[in-house]
């Protein structure tokens, strides 16, 4: 410890010493090296496991992965899962600045880990760098394509709709399965559901309370603020409820929707924009509105974010999902089954060159991480 004299004061005060500063070539303490590595992209961290044993131990530690995820300056990617010419499933990642700013967009791709087993799979969701896929035979798979680690979850016995997200209360990633089956009792037949939650820690499914709203529509749930959200059809025709499953409480509730006003709604779809739950509402009149729930769970926080203009085709739905908001002036959306960028400041459209977009399956927003489904 070095001492610092206090001018006229006789009491010395101390400031902790910065060790090894005067070494001929400066060596950085391990804490500083760790701080630096929190800011290095995942692919290079995998390479840097070769530097020495203590770096490998550090980079492999799940706690490091978490801190890296919260510190690293993330770039968002558009993630599309597509089938190549050999019918293999691949995921393709497009970096967002390149979609909006520098055509043609830059992409990288990774093959789905179970391609050799010729099984059908589609994407359920993306959370903290991990993807959840639903495969054939009612199985789910968690996969981090950046570190190329995957885990198959125990299979389920019935047709299943999955959802995937992170629960802060238990500090764990959870996959929710809604098992659906047709029951023919009391002279009629109706769909019945059973809800199960998989916990990565125990690697087992556990039954929770019923899904109270029939069958979720749409195959993937939207993960927002610790909840999974589906649209579900209600008893009234052409009317949908937003059903929210809280991953911490493990219970469902209905979310109140915005007041759409005096319009004829054709259809809805849910999305996540700016970390908020969003709903895009398509009207018979040929235009669509995008609403954001700024404060999750509060009806009064719904605000109309954007009105997508009527382009001359009544009763035709030109707009599909709204995928991403960029730089507070542009949105990436599905338009006539293609990708389009709508600049809502000057109300212009343009079409990025993303040849792999078919509108199906659901495009996802992806950020890379070191978080492993196996830890």
């Amino acid at each position: 410890m070095s001492q610092i004299s206090h001018g006229h004061n006789n009491e010395p005060a101390t400031i902790p010493d910065g060790d090894s500063l005067h070494a001929p070539s400066p060596f950085l303490p391990f804490e500083l090296i760790t701080e630096i590595l929190y800011r290095v992209p995942v692919k290079f961290l995998i390479q840097f496991k070769c530097v020495c044993k203590s770096w490998k131990t550090l980079i492999s530690n799940p706690e490091f992965a978490k801190k890296h995820f919260s510190t690293f300056h993330h770039h968002h990617h558009l993630l599309l899962s597509i089938n190549d010419a050999l019918n293999n499933l691949i995921v393709k990642l497009y970096s967002f600045p390149s979609i909006f700013e520098t055509p043609p967009p830059i992409s990288t791709q990774v093959s789905y880990p179970l391609n050799t087993q010729s099984c059908f799979a589609f994407m359920v969701g993306s959370c903290d760098g991990m993807l959840c896929f639903a495969g054939s035979l009612n199985t789910a798979l968690l996969w981090n394509p950046t570190i190329r680690v995957f885990k198959r979850l125990p299979p389920l016995e019935k047709y299943t709709i999955f959802g995937f997200g992170f629960d802060q209360c238990s500090d764990s990633y959870k996959v929710v399965a809604i098992l659906c089956s047709l029951s023919s009792s009391d002279g009629g037949s109706a769909y019945v559901t059973e809800v199960k939650i998989h916990n990565l820690g125990t690697d087992s499914w556990r039954r929770i309370q019923e899904y109270p709203f029939g069958i979720p529509s749409g195959l993937s749930a939207k993960f927002v603020s610790g909840t999974l959200n589906w649209l579900a059809s209600t008893h009234k025709l052409s009317s949908y409820a937003i059903v929210s499953l809280d991953l911490g409480k493990e219970s469902c509730q209905e979310l109140l929707q915005p007041d759409y006003g005096e319009v004829n709604v054709l259809s809805f779809s849910l999305g996540v924009l700016k970390n908020c739950l969003s709903i895009i509402v398509h009207y018979e009149e040929g235009f669509s509105d995008v609403w954001l729930m700024n404060d999750y769970g509060k009806k009064e926080s719904w605000t109309k974010f954007l009105c997508l203009p009527f382009l001359g085709f009544p009763h035709v739905l030109p707009y599909g999902k709204v995928i991403y908001i960029y730089d507070d002036k542009e949105v990436l959306l599905e338009f006539n089954s293609e990708l389009a960028i709508y600049n809502f400041r000057n109300e212009t459209f343009n079409f990025p060159e993303v040849p792999d977009f078919y509108g199906w399956p659901e495009p996802q927003i992806y950020v890379e991480s070191l978080i492993s489904p196996c830890s």
């Binding site: 070095s2 610092i4 004299s5 206090h6 001018g7 006229h8 004061n9 009491e11 005060a13 400031i15 902790p16 010493d17 910065g18 500063l21 070539s25 400066p26 060596f27 950085l28 303490p29 500083l32 090296i33 701080e35 630096i36 590595l37 929190y38 800011r39 290095v40 992209p41 692919k43 290079f44 995998i46 390479q47 840097f48 496991k49 070769c50 530097v51 020495c52 044993k53 770096w55 490998k56 300056h73 190329r148």
Partner: protein, 167 residues
């Protein structure tokens, strides 16, 4: 906080190899090590010079430059991004590898979060597409793997090394 009014005058910092440098309380406040020194009851703002035996005049003035620029540029909202980027680039241009590491040390010693974050990011940007050999040399890390052990890691993660040129 309300009971101890901030000293109006500047704070005097004495680097190990130069004259006293005066900084405003606002700048000093961002240096946690100095701040806890000032908050010490025995500190007399008007007369005390704070010696910094682990920080050179060059390092101290770089850190003060950074804090000055960034605290001023926060006040103006528009068109700041571009000029800030330019300032940051110029700031780093003057630093060779050893100087950069020394500055990181000094920022760590003074515990200036903003500068620490910036310099950690700068080093991360510098090393991220470099070879494992470069990284070892940069940090002075000794390779404690056997040839076989290192080969094994490279084989297991072969995809991460695609397109990487070893020097």
């Amino acid at each position: 906080m309300a009971k101890t009014p901030e000293p109006k005058r500047t704070i005097s910092l004495k680097p190990c190899d130069g004259d006293v440098i005066e900084v405003s309380p606002m700048i000093a406040k961002q240096m946690q090590t100095i701040q806890s020194f000032i908050e010490d009851d025995s500190f007399i703002a008007t007369t005390t010079i704070i010696p910094l035996p682990n920080v050179t005049a060059f390092q101290l003035s770089k850190i003060i430059d950074y804090l000055n620029y960034h605290s001023n540029s926060k006040a103006v909202a528009d068109n700041v991004k571009e000029s800030t980027k330019k300032f940051d680039e110029e700031f780093l241009k003057e630093l060779e590898h050893d100087k950069l590491k020394e500055l990181l040390h000094a920022a760590n010693y003074l515990n200036v979060k903003e500068v620490l974050d910036f310099l950690c990011q700068a080093v991360a940007d510098l090393i991220q597409d470099k070879s494992v050999k470069f990284v070892r040399k940069f940090f002075g890390v000794v390779n404690d793997y056997s040839v076989e052990e290192e080969e094994d890691i490279r084989r297991t993660h072969a995809w991460a090394f695609e397109g990487v040129e070893e020097d």
